[in-house]
Subunit: 102 residues, 2 copies
DNA sequence: ATTTCATATGAATTTGGAATCATATGTTAT
DNA sequence: ATAACATATGATTCCAAATTCATATGAAAT
């Protein structure tokens, strides 16, 4: 259930839904409903994904009334994403990592 | 067939076999048989994995007689692995990314 | 030309994880 | 206590990706 390996961690970044959620949370902490709406991942699926992301310390949760507020774990995922993004921009001109389409 | 997205790339690092292969190649370029022996991934499976890794520019190949020599693509995967490793050591004391067991 | 070694390939099968579905739990308001 | 809202959970279904298996290709040696 906990995140034990190198591969366990990376599998979170190898999943489209998870990336969407992470992207969504870059603009700030949000509750499940809002995440679900923004990402267009249905509620139940969103909860399942969120659980995994928390288990791997990618996200934090805190309760606020009947809601649960999820946020990026700045100590872990943010620096890694930053490093990877930098690398993508600096080193990969003919890039095999496509920029996220917006 | 080619590696197009963020998630495609990370899926390479989310796979135990691929990590084994990458680890194996950290000590230098090798042919398929040697990789297969070191990683204990059978020949056919090894070839399949290698193909994917090459498609995502994680590895390079070159022919040498009847062998094919695979090597890490220093321009791409090496810097990322280095950055991630550094991050693991510096930032994750209570670490959710287990050090590779040897 | 035939054999042997090295690797690749395609199809079939297996499997692990994700989406889905139905329902449960928990919280606030009335 | 009941209703309405927010989220989680477990089971099932589904699917894509990985293994496996059998075989093909290709290169060197005899």
């Amino acid at each position: 259930m906990k995140c034990h390996s190198y591969t366990d961690f990376f599998s979170n970044l190898a999943n489209e839904s998870n990336i969407k959620i992470i992207e969504s949370l870059k603009t700030g902490p949000k509750n499940v409903t809002k995440i679900s709406n923004e990402t267009e991942i249905e509620q139940s699926a969103t909860s399942h994904r969120l659980k995994k992301l928390v288990n791997c310390n990618v996200l934090n949760v805190e309760r606020k009334g009947k809601e649960r507020i999820y946020s990026l774990n700045k100590e872990t995922i943010t620096p890694i994403l930053k490093l990877v993004d930098e690398h993508v921009h600096k080193k990969c001109k003919t890039c095999w990592i496509k920029e996220k389409e917006n």
